[in-house]
Amino acid sequence: MKQKIILIGILLSLTGVIYAFTSGVFNTAKDPYMNLKVPELVDYNFHIKPILSDNCYTCHGPDANKRKAGLRLDIAAVAYSELKESPGKFAIVPGKPAKSELYHRITADDPSEIMPPVDAKLRLNSYEKRLIKKWIEQGGPYEKHWAFIAPLKAELPETTLEGWAQNEIDAFVLQKLEENNLLPSEKAGKETLIRRIALDLTGLPPDPEVAPGYLSDTTGGLVSKIIDEFLASEHYGERMTQVWLDVARYADSHGYQDDSYRTMWPWRDWVIHAFNKNMPYDEFLTWQLAGDLMSDATREQILATGFNRNHPITQEGGVIQEEYQSYYVVDRTNTLGKGILGITLECAKCHDHKYDPISQEEYYGVYAFFNNVSEMGLRMDAVQAAKVKYFADAPYMTITDKETDGVLSFINNTKGEEVKVMIMNDSTPRQTFLLNRGNYDDPTDSVQPITPAGIYPFSDTLPKNRLGLAQWVTDKDNPLTARVFVNRIWAMLFGNGLVETAEDFGVQGSLPSHPQLLDWLSRDFVEHDWDIKYLLKKIMLSATYQQSSEVTPALKQADPNNKLLARAPRFRMSGEMIRDYILATSGLLHGEIGGPSVKPYQPPGLWEETNAGGDRGVLTTYIEDKGDGLYRRSLYTFWKRTLPPPSMSIFDAPTRDFCEVRRQKTNTPLQALALQNDIQMLEAARVLAENTVASHREDTSFVKEVFRKILVRSPESEELEVLDAYYRDALENFTVQTGEAEKLLALGNSPPRESDPAQTAALMLTAQVIYNLDETITKE
């Protein structure tokens, strides 16, 4: 008897081992999702909705036309109720996954049963399935989408780490870190920090002559002091404008074929002015959306509305005007959505939004606000326009000398030259219709101006015009406006927003990494009257911002993408910043603010090759500026939509054909080539070398000096060795072959300065090495 039991026991365990082996107990990682732990409490907004919206909403979401089987999973009532097509069955039975058809379908394997259907080419992974199961078990509760609930200031979370936090921001960040058993990085070195703040607030490196002063400064509140100084600088306005121009799709040409010149630059000058005098964000928006409708509107307020005329305008012969007029209005509508509300309005142009609560009717409701402009499209082609200097399409305002001396003094215009700027008006009221499938020639029902109620209701007390729209947008309880802006400022400083998809806060957008922090900041921002400088300072004073950007192996392991902010970010500067940086450090930068756009170096022939040949008006050929025009800050570089400045687009600048709020940060060989061979860069290296050689007697300090000028820190001994050796080496070469040296020193238009050619050329190459370092073009 005993033996038999033992025998059976052995048999069982043996088979057990075999079974375990075959069923993959020993070779795990087959399904990486198997090991993901389902959270104790499943959150609808953060765990479930992304799955449902991404996989199910296409057929079971807000879009009434595409809805299958009458089922919609975005609304609790419908999801809980009996299924129209299969009586007795329910998509979701709170608490009972086994009885919930939803769960059956996503776990089914029969091709005719499984959801999403086979042809959707989508499939839930095991983790997602377990999430949904648990969610249903927990009662399958629904909540409003997080971004459509007005933000509230949460209690500051309790944290254990003492003495790190410097303000509220840190509390939220630290909480997440402690949840993940991570520690914040130590504070960044003074030099790094100063450079970081300077770049963030002015887009320029700190003056290497002033920086040491800061370093020696022992008084407390150093950082706070630095921040204030940079915020006070005029370059602050330029820096902020640079970013806003992408949102406003600003350009100096009309776009489309036969691209021709337009004068919108006075509007750009206004933006700089507005930022520099720290105009509150709500006012900033109101003026741009509806300045012309404000009670006894000032010239400045009217000028601001140029924002909504920055879109491309066609000059192609034989276009159908109505078609393009509707494109223009669509552009304004989408820009409001993407740039200001951070929502993909455009998805509701042809049909109800598939994911967010925006009906097609509501889309045209917003459209209606922008549909009353007395625009007729361009009246003439590029060539005629050039002849008669027709650089603004009606409606426009004409800015006179008198105004540039007075109320519009911030416009940097040459005396005696009037300039026309396109602006908004409501002087041609049009009845707006819902356009079937978005086709301009297929109008259906008429619609009234209205905004998406699902986001924030449009109060009856508001006027049904752009002014009302502006007030709706800037209402302190509008759930999006402040969040979106705060998030973009955060992205400007940290490279990534708290919501990574800065352009989409909707259901399909990514979720905030620190929801409470985002809400707290947004509230705080609004409570402080939308004060942008205050917001920037708030963030910069946080220990989070001031961390070192060093990536320890541990951190790389734990949080490769730095979602938790256990370190400061480290990312490549924008093309504009890189160019400005190099101009500034070389001493070439010409600091003038505003004025007509300028034409710095550009490889010859680019415009000619792509335009239609022959005389095509003002922008037929690219004629480089002489003198200062070559060395202005990059936001003044002439922007031809159909062929943007290559030195910018190579570094991921958008085309400005439409509103863009987030630039890629790619890393390509073309960038390497530009940094090596763009005449602008070479000239900078040359001039920097010349000045250094001329102003320093003994050449032992050359390299050190150049290094300090460019990177605003003194080189490590190792670095100095490498560079010194290189310099000596180059010097030897050039002393024998002065011919080569002179060739190099002939680069660029700036007048050469008396200095020893061999030394200068050698130092120029050394400077080039430093200009091509990753550190130089990176914000650390």
Binding site: M1, K4, I8, L12, T15, G16, Y19, S23, K68, A69, E85, K96, P97, A98, K99, Y103, H104, I106, T107, A108, D110, P111, S112, E113, E137, G614
Partner: protein, 482 residues
Amino acid sequence: MTLNFNKRWADYIILSLSIFFVFCLLFESYIAPPALVAWLGQWHPVLLHFPIVLLLIAIVLKFVGTRIPPMLLTVAVISALLTAITGFLLGLKSGNKGDLLYWHQWLGAGVALTAVVWYYLERTGHGAHRALKGLGAVLIVFIGFAGHYGGTITHGEDFLALPGSRQEEKIPDNPLIYEHVVNRILKRRCVKCHNPNKTKGELLMTSHDHLLKGGESGSTVIPGDPDKSEIIRRLTLPDDDDDHMPPEGESPLTPDEVEILERWIALGASDTLRLDHLDPTEALLTLIKEMMEPDPLEKWALLPDVADSTLQHLNSDYVTITRLAGTTNAVRVVMYMPPEYDPNHILNLRPISDNIVEFDLSGLPIGERELGLVAACTNLEWLEIDRTPVTDAAMDTLNVLSKLRLLKVYDTEIGDESVPLFMNWEHLEKLFLWNTRISENALASLKSAKPDLSVEDGITGDLEAFFVAEDSIPKQDPPQIP
């Protein structure tokens, strides 16, 4: 006679297990077992073999009238219960239960509980011998069906089908459209329900005549008019339409299959139409050709595995190695001329020589050793060695490449000695040789020997005259822009 042994522990176990199991069955919908318990479910497939074997033995013994060893019956019953319980747990994990699973579960339960009853009767001695035999018989039936359903669940309906009966025969070179193509599709998708035994909608699809005759809704196929033909209408309805064919649950036809039926009907739904009757722009041609030639991916499935890491490692600035498609093990290797050429770039590829199906060495100064490596690529189908210093001698080493389909050797020094080689490669379809030393006659003999082989010998004759001989851009004064 009774089993006279007093192993009370066995009774208790069996009793408690039975109660637990019954409880499970009754309150199924309220049960959400913790992970560990659910995991026990995984043991079902292990355990189920014991009751099957042991119970059967016991029953056999019963029938032949020999005494059943008590321990045998005890273990059998316990294992039956355990199997049932674990099976139940496993069942919980699969969201919705199909019929199969449903029956399997209840029959399984039946087996277990009947076994318990039997045990009880044996134990207490109640129940006539005959009754017990009957019980055994019932058990056999239960075990049989439960087992069958279980098996079907696991390996699908037709896993008992005889070998061969499942795979379809290859389509001949010049197939009859109906017999070899259309009928094949119908067999695969429709005949299941439209056959003599199970003539749904009074429609038979097993023969051409029946198909044309149609079913209750008549006009199944209207030669020349696919749009009016019921079959096409049904096939192209939206999936959720009740009239859609095949009905929900059956795997639908692929778009290509539908298009084939559509075109075939459009062309008159004849049963004598052959592939070579079709005009070259006819869609059917392509569709059927695609059906006929096996997807290369299947052909390559036999190649030895190669890891991405290996490919990555062998990739370099001037050598690009990529899988030909998806996750296949067939790779394509291209090398471009680096500033300083190094044979090792190629020689290093030996580890993956069996995986190289396409090899592009055009314009490289390759020598004997490199070609040696090429010769080692026995699965090579596509080889480009044009504009290389390749010689006849070297070419000869390549004669092992029996799978070669395409070869580029233009602009080389090879001569007539290589021609026999071209004749040997039976799979060779395309050959590009011009500007070589091969003589006119040799070329002619090659062409006559292999009429199917397309030999590209450059731009010659009147084409050359028309294009190259004189630069024939007509010169005119440029038109003016209006």
